[in-house]
């Protein structure tokens, strides 16, 4: 119900936003949405006339989301009074549950202790935030357009970062050198055009902001940017403009958040099938700008396969194709200048995306062999153990007895060593018959290689972990443990070598840099392709005794990236380059490649209005 409420706020209210509110509307909204609407914005401060125009604070995600960590404010891991781990809130399957094994795993894996705490500061230190550089002429012109904006500190800070470790760490106990000077909330493609025109006219730097889930330092403001930096928040452009059931496409505004898009399409019986791990928060425009990948890409495809048409506002004008043809041979595909441009060329405003009927049947499975269902993930042993640590407390003695029996069967009877076991989670999707047929195929393969089906329950938990795992980092950070995930793609024949070498490199680098406890260094295959796989690494360590943990962390991560590249892995499968990985881009795409990108940038944005300095 809570989710529905959220949906209501997001999807119903926005359509009426920016209007002068009548008292009636106010009260309705307040009673329905309760605490979510607790702040107001004035659009046109005009003291002389005393006329204020209010809009609602759903503009402001920070009221619903943590300002210094991942996800919803109400959902987090804590250690309760009994010292047991618990996941708060009501949003997830795991919410409200006690996780008895987590504490031991946490202490054993990291050498961490509940006594050694590193709590974040409780509120932002506003004096740390640099004063905004404002371009008065731009501001005057912007006011005339009546597009809402703000230069409040909370708004600016919230859009100054993504979710890299160093960014979250800076929120918890550090500071940012440069943050956006103001935030604007355009409501439509034409408003974006107006903003970009004004930005060009007044030489203002624009950084598009979607869901803020970047993990490539893409949202960081260049510290030496002297111009006023405007964060262009696309969150108000969140409507589905039309659905074409004949061609199975939907035309959607780019600011829509993944889960909203999916939910709204579901109402009409459709889905996109694009489910990146961040889909609760990330936006369609963000997916396009970073070449995102969803976990069910085996059936639905990655973003580049899903997109039919893109509209983007650039300093040169609007770029879009003239028709919605499913494929064309019209020279190099200009969509590929846009996908992966990471906000350096313009703002994606509207996208036509393929849709599919909602699948009749879904089934989550765990097996020990690979095949090609909708999604497949293969975890190493460390992750298997980690997943185990997140098993909730069971309700009855009977279930606990059953669990014991299962464990006995697997370890003693079947002879699996819990210290060597690895797990694949599979997701089948389609009509019932096909799913069951597929499933049988997979089990046959599994049986051939001594694998074992672990049941749908385990499978579902595996996928649920995808969404809660990001919350876990915040818990770690309360107890001297920092970590991050990073990814790559690599040809099949090198997957094993790459995984082993990168994990080993991480362990070795930690040792050399004085990390006192062995790190968690683990990986899993999260996507499969005909010619290779996407590999995800999780890396975390206990930083007690280290003076500058973030610096050490970054050195190790970049060593790991070097190792990935040396072993034939790519610079990124779907996280993007941003600023975090741009020093390797030249090596990755050659001098000529860089030259091509530069000349595109030079033509499209000669004055570097979109000056987030990603990629190049």
């Amino acid at each position: 119900k809570e989710l529905n409420l959220f949906w209501f706020v997001h999807c119903v209210v926005p359509k009426r936003n920016k209007r002068v509110c009548s008292g009636h509307c106010w009260s309705v909204c307040l009673s329905v949405a309760g605490c979510y609407i607790n702040k107001m914005y004035y659009l046109m401060p005009d003291d002389s006339t005393n006329c204020f125009v209010y809009i609602f604070t759903f503009l402001n995600r920070q009221d619903l989301l943590k300002w210094n960590g991942w996800g919803y404010s109400d959902s987090k891991f804590i250690f309760n009074k009994k010292g047991q781990a618990e996941f708060t809130g009501k949003r997830y399957r795991l919410s409200g549950m006690v996780l008895p094994a987590l504490r031991e795993w946490f202490e054993k894996t990291f050498g961490a202790s509940l006594e050694h705490k590193t709590p974040p500061r409780s509120a932002l230190n506003t004096s740390d935030i640099p004063a905004p550089i404002l371009n008065e002429d731009f501001l005057d012109d912007l006011k005339a357009t009546k597009i809402p904006f703000s230069h409040e500190i909370e708004d600016r800070i919230f859009r100054a970062h993504g979710h890299c470790l160093h960014e979250i760490f800076a929120l918890r106990e550090g500071k940012f050198e440069r943050v956006p000077d103001m935030v604007v909330w355009p409501n439509s493609h034409s408003e974006v055009e107006k903003i970009v025109n004004l930005a060009c006219k007044h030489n203002v730097c624009v950084i598009p902001f979607g869901g803020g889930t970047s993990v490539s330092s893409a949202l960081e403001c260049p510290p030496d940017e002297k111009r006023s930096i405007v964060s262009l928040d696309t969150s108000q452009m969140n409507r589905i403009l039309w659905i074409d059931e004949k061609n199975l496409t939907a035309h959607v505004e780019a600011g829509i958040i993944g889960q909203d898009l999916e939910r709204l399409l579901n109402v009409s019986g459709y889905c996109t099938g694009h489910e990146p791990d961040s889909m609760e928060f990330s936006t369609l425009g963000g997916w396009v700008a970073t070449r995102a990948s969803g976990m069910k890409k085996n059936i639905y495809g990655n973003i580049e396969d899903l997109v039919v048409h893109i509209r983007m506002v650039t300093p040169r004008g609007v770029i879009e194709k003239s028709c919605q043809g499913p494929r064309m041979s019209t020279g190099p595909d200009v969509h590929h200048f846009i996908m992966g441009s990471e906000g350096t060329l313009g703002v994606v405003t509207e996208v036509t995306i393929k849709i599919r009927p909602v699948p009749e049947y879904q089934k989550y499975e765990v097996a020990k062999q690979r095949c090609a269902p909708a999604s497949i993930r293969l975890m190493d042993n460390a992750q298997f153990q980690f997943g185990h640590a997140l098993k909730p407390q069971v309700a009855s003695i009977f279930t606990s007895f059953l669990d014991g029996l299962k464990k006995f069967y697997i370890t003693k009877f079947k002879g699996f060593d819990p210290n060597q076991l690895c797990v694949a989670t599979l997701l089948f999707e389609g009509d019932r018959e096909k799913v069951l047929q597929h499933e049988k195929q997979v089990y046959d393969i599994a049986a051939k290689f001594g694998g074992l089906a672990a049941g749908e329950d385990n499978g579902q938990r595996g996928y649920m972990l995808t969404f809660v795992i990001a919350y876990l980092r915040d818990l770690g950070m309360d107890f001297y443990v920092i970590g991050e995930s990073f990814e790559t793609s690599v040809p099949w024949d090198r997957v094993l070598d790459l995984c082993r070498n990168v994990k080993e490199r991480i362990v070795r680098e930690c040792k050399e840099r004085g990390v006192q406890f062995p790190p968690l260094s683990t990986c899993r295959v999260t996507q499969t392709y005909d010619a290779g796989a996407c590999v995800y690494f999780y890396f975390a360590f206990n930083y007690r005794g280290i003076a500058d943990p973030i610096h050490v962390y970054e050195q190790i991560e970049s060593a790991a990236r070097e190792e990935i590249l040396a072993n034939g892995g790519s610079l990124s499968h779907h996280h993007g380059v941003g600023k975090l990985r741009k020093r390797w881009l030249q090596e990755a795409i050659s001098d000529v490649g860089i030259g091509m990108l530069k000349s595109v940038k030079q033509y499209v944005d000669p004055n570097n209005i979109f000056g987030n300095r990603n990629l190049l």
């Binding site: 080993e504 040396a566 072993n567 034939g568």
Partner: protein, 666 residues
């Protein structure tokens, strides 16, 4: 590539080295049978047990790399893949090791017996063993011993067995297989056999490299091979051969292993079993083919005393740390890993540098026996030297060598004269002390054949030289600086450097100089001389000090045989080989030319007769483009640039300073 990292002077005497333990001591006090049958449970890499020889062969034959090459050859030659496959099976059968613990135990027993009679002590640094044991558990290990004798690898396996370490598989030359039963037994104790030359044979190369790489990747056992490629007949280190080194590094370049540990091992002999054999070989008496009966004849040496052996396991060197920041491995990323790729130039340079680095690490831990010092003095003072003078000089040299960082094994609590006397008596095959006069042994010569007499004498000189050679790596850098200071006749630093760099180029195959390290070598030499108070280094000048004269003249005498020898070769080339000389005839022609000069008394040093020196000189001249090879009627002919050769000869004879090259690098 390395010239950017400047030489940072470090007092060589501060080098820390481990202590030794005698492994024979326990053998003398307990049963050899029990020892041979004791429980042998070595620690393993990743816990992987050694692989069955047949399984290994199968893996290699079924590897993508070998299958690919077979396909390719089949396409090229039109031969069916099955036939090529058969051929591959044969090659592999000829090559593969077949480690059998029972044979190892047999060897353990036999070698215990043999070593106890042959040697006084076999001393091993146990800390090195511990380091090795740790390395074995972490990453695949490559053992790189020095190679001065047949028994090197027997000795090494014996030591490893004694300390309960994994037995290595050893790359051995095919000639060992000639020794019927013994060859097969070596195979069963872990040797695998490679042909000496197989340059163009793609199938052989594929099988061989895949065989080595498979063992390394799977980590079945440490791999052992000799960087120098062959036994050094002169007891100087040989320039590294890179074939096998390339192969063992490839799995790292391709990311198939995380790291590889390279372990330099220095095996020093107080007296070398093959000493006279080597001398005759160098003089051109053909080497007796390795045969079982030959080995049996060698039994007569069993009654002789060969002193001590020192086996020093150096610090394992991580290939990964060596490669860090020096090379990019991404060249392997664009081609499937089973298809052979020619590595780019920087990889080649890197492997070459590592080769030299490893040889230098071997040299660093070579133990220098008192006899080496005695021989160094003696060979400068032929035909005879007074025993007291010899002793005095030996002590002087010992102190100098130690201050230059030499690892001298000088017994404590024994008087100097006793040490010298016992050295002389141990080497009774070379030297004798008659009434206080020390001379080389000379067999009674009835024949009036002067040439024959000369060769007999030269053999003894070469034997003696082979011991002096063991200390040259300590002195070569300061000595070449000292010779340069002396020869240039000017104190200008840049002129001295320029002459030094000329000598270094000319002797690039004679001594181990890491490529590209000219400046560092020069600075190291200067630093050591300065430390010995031999020179003063000013801003632009280098001045010889009072004390320096003795050192300089000692070094001049020490390296005179090489300076003189190279001049003789230049003379030969410019006087007799103007039309070119075939590669096959070169050695005998030079020898004939040198004999003439020696007999006439124009040349003093017999060492010019050493084929090793002759070949090294030619290799250096070829490298400097002073000679070049051409192919004429199926024969390789060496063509000579006469002016250039003459200039080298003159420069060596100090009549002309060489062109001022490489000044900018100072």
């Amino acid at each position: 590539m390395a010239s950017e990292n400047a030489y940072s002077p470090q007092d060589p005497t501060l080098k820390k080295r481990d202590d030794f333990e005698d492994v024979l001591e326990e053998r003398r006090n307990s049963s050899d049978v029990k020892y041979a049958f004791r429980c042998y449970t070595p620690v393993l890499y990743n816990g992987i047990p050694p692989c069955k020889a047949s399984l290994l062969k199968h893996t290699v034959l079924k590897s993508d790399h070998v299958l690919f090459v077979i396909q390719q050859l089949s396409k090229e030659s039109g031969e069916s893949p099955e036939i090529i496959h058969e051929e591959a099976v044969e090659i592999l059968d000829e090559m593969a090791q077949n480690l059998k613990l029972s044979v190892v135990r047999f060897f353990a027993f036999m070698l215990s017996k043999a070593f106890k009679t042959l040697f006084q002590r076999v001393r091993v640094n146990e800390e090195g063993i511990q380091r090795l044991q740790q390395a074995i558990q972490q990453y695949p290990v490559v053992l790189l011993p020095s190679h001065r004798s047949y028994i090197d690898f027997l000795m090494l396996s014996y030591v490893l067995y004694t300390y309960d370490l994994s037995l290595p598989v050893i790359a051995a030359g095919m000639d060992f297989l000639g020794m019927k039963i013994v060859g097969e037994m070596l195979r069963m104790s872990g040797a695998f056999f490679i042909r000496r030359s197989f340059g163009g044979d793609k199938l052989y190369w594929a099988l061989f490299s895949e065989y080595v790489k498979t063992m390394l990747r799977k980590g079945y056992a440490p791999i052992e091979f000799f960087l120098e490629g062959t036994r050094s007949r002169t007891c100087k280190s040989l320039v590294p051969k890179l074939g096998l080194l390339n192969i063992v590094m490839e799995p790292f370049f391709k990311g198939e292993v995380f790291d590889v540990s390279l372990v330099p091992i220095s095996i020093s002999y107080e007296r070398i079993l093959e000493e006279s054999l080597y001398a005759y070989e160098l003089l051109g008496v053909p080497k007796p083919k390795e045969s079982t009966s030959g080995l049996l004849k060698a039994r007569k040496i069993l009654s002789d005393d060969f002193g001590s052996i020192h086996v020093y396991f150096g610090h394992p060197v991580s290939l990964r740390s060596l490669a860090q920041g020096k090379i990019s491995r991404s060249y392997c990323n664009l081609v499937p890993r089973h298809i052979p790729v020619k590595p780019p130039k920087d990889i080649f340079t890197f492997v070459n540098d590592i080769g030299y680095k490893m040889v230098r690490l071997q040299q660093e831990n070579m133990v220098i026996s008192p006899w080496v010092l005695v021989a160094s003095i003696l060979i400068q003072s032929l035909p005879q030297i007074d025993i007291n003078h010899l002793t005095e000089q030996t002590v002087w040299l010992r102190n100098l060598a130690q201050s230059f960082g030499a690892f001298v094994d000088w017994p404590d609590h024994i008087s100097v004269s006793k040490v010298v006397a016992s050295s002389i008596s141990l080497h009774h095959s070379i030297v004798k002390n008659t009434g206080g006069r020390v001379t080389l042994i000379e067999e009674k010569q009835d024949s009036s054949n002067l040439e024959h007499q000369l060769f007999k004498y030269a053999a003894t000189v070469l034997m003696c030289a082979s011991y002096r050679n063991q200390i040259l790596h300590i002195f070569v850098r300061p000595a070449l600086v000292a010779i340069s200071v002396h020869s240039v006749g000017s104190s200008r630093k840049e002129e001295i450097f320029s002459y030094f760099s000329f000598l270094r180029d000319i002797f690039s195959h004679e001594f181990i100089f890491a490529p590209g390290h000219t400046v560092q070598d020069f600075e190291e030499g200067c630093y050591l001389l300065m430390k010995a108070d031999a020179i003063q280094i000013l801003k632009t000048d280098i001045l010889l000090s009072e004390r320096g004269h003795k050192i300089v003249s000692f070094f001049l005498a020490m390296f005179q045989p090489f300076l003189e020898g190279y001049q003789v070769i230049c003379r030969y080339l410019s006087e007799e080989a103007l039309e070119g000389v075939t590669e096959n005839q070169y050695v005998s022609a030079v020898r004939k030319f040198a004999v003439k000069l020696l007999l006439s008394g124009a040349v003093k040093s017999c060492e010019v007769l050493s084929s090793d020196l002759q070949k090294n000189a030619l290799a250096a001249l070829l490298k400097l483009n002073i000679c070049r090879k051409t192919k004429e009627m199926e024969q390789v002919v060496v063509k000579v640039n006469r002016t250039a050769v003459n200039s080298v000869e003159d420069t060596l004879g100090r009549k002309l300073t060489p062109l001022k090259t490489a000044l900018a690098r100072l």
